[in-house]
Symmetry: C3
Subunit: 157 residues, 3 copies
């Protein structure tokens, strides 16, 4: 793919990713990843200090599915709407079949009967591969800015 086409594919991938999560269509979420993969939600501080502790860590599509099942079975979590704004998407490297990309994200949440507020902001660090012409996440690290999460973070970001 030339650089323009790749950028366009990345924009579309992130748009579809956001749509999946914002529509609450979690069962489709693992399909954005390769079979072996790494999905992590890490506080910025740990990321910068190379500390391994993550808020969420999944190392295969199977673990992502388990995660979705866990979300569905959590009954104490008050219903809310999530809204992803993903911007500043750009490729940082493209070599040896792995595309490296970054993007900034903000997730705004709207609990039932409450006003919309900022839930979480941060940066995606992605490693992507082309499988049958479609981009898949081999790695998505969600490095978030706050060490405080309003409410428990149970949904993927």
């Amino acid at each position: 793919m030339d650089r323009l086409t790749l950028h366009f594919a990345l924009e579309n991938l992130n748009a579809a990713y956001a749509e999946c999560l914002d529509d609450g269509d979690l069962e489709r979420w693992p399909d954005f990843f390769t079979e072996d993969c790494l999905y992590q939600i890490i506080p910025r501080e740990n990321y910068e200090l190379h500390l391994p502790l993550a808020l969420m860590r999944c190392e295969s599509r199977g673990m992502l599915k388990d995660r979705v099942a866990a979300v569905r079975q959590t009954s104490v979590y008050a219903p809310r709407t999530m809204r992803h704004l993903i911007s500043n998407i750009h490729v940082t490297d493209d070599a040896n079949g792995i595309i490296r990309a970054r993007a900034n994200y903000a997730v705004l949440e709207t609990p039932l009967d409450e006003p919309t507020r900022v839930f979480n902001t941060g940066c995606y660090f992605d490693g992507l591969v082309l499988i049958d012409g479609a981009l898949k996440f081999r790695e998505r690290l969600c490095v978030f800015d706050s060490i405080l999460i309003p409410g428990s973070l149970i949904y993927p970001i």
Copy 2:
């Protein structure tokens, strides 16, 4: 139009749309729509349950103009600045002369002498047509996340 060109046209259309509203240039806003059109602002809940109740509903460019006139004549509304962030723009369908697209939006508002805050977030569901080489909204549904609107929503989104 090929897919890349269409995506680019959509990005530009949404940028011009945001610029128009954020600059307070409301009189130009109806020009983004076709003569017969559907513009609606709907709470997410109603949209999902197929309930018809909308916060704002205009079915022609004439009604959009009436809406703008109403905003201009509303004197009890405190001045404020709106700022649109439209992201995750993508085409979902392109057939029979109608282009279907979605985007996430966040509108941040800044009342005079107050800090900036989240006003409204949601999703645009668009139906677009090409008229003389330019994209126009035949339909723009603003499905918003909160059932609480801080202050009265009188501006278009």
Copy 3:
């Protein structure tokens, strides 16, 4: 450059700009500008009334570097993370070697041990030139919406 390639270059430039500031990599920030340049942070009201007063005003790359040095020597400023969302990027004019562009931005800040909040929103008004095939800011005006800045604004936007 054709319009699509220019749009893509602008997207990449803004992504790199945001990455530089959000990573706290301020020393690289002046490199986004031409040697003679104009960088300003102006409240919207002053901008609209053509009042010259700006919160920050730098007229050369040297002054940008001074600004960075000042930030680094400010010890009373509590550490925090900034997160830029730049959207609705579009070219408004391209003539006589100067590209004019606009974009909306939101900066969200996360002070240490505090939740993420909206720091500043506004509009970039840019004048860009191509130097050795790379876009540089000859002018970046950050016109912000609020006349209240939470905390002192010392970082570039």
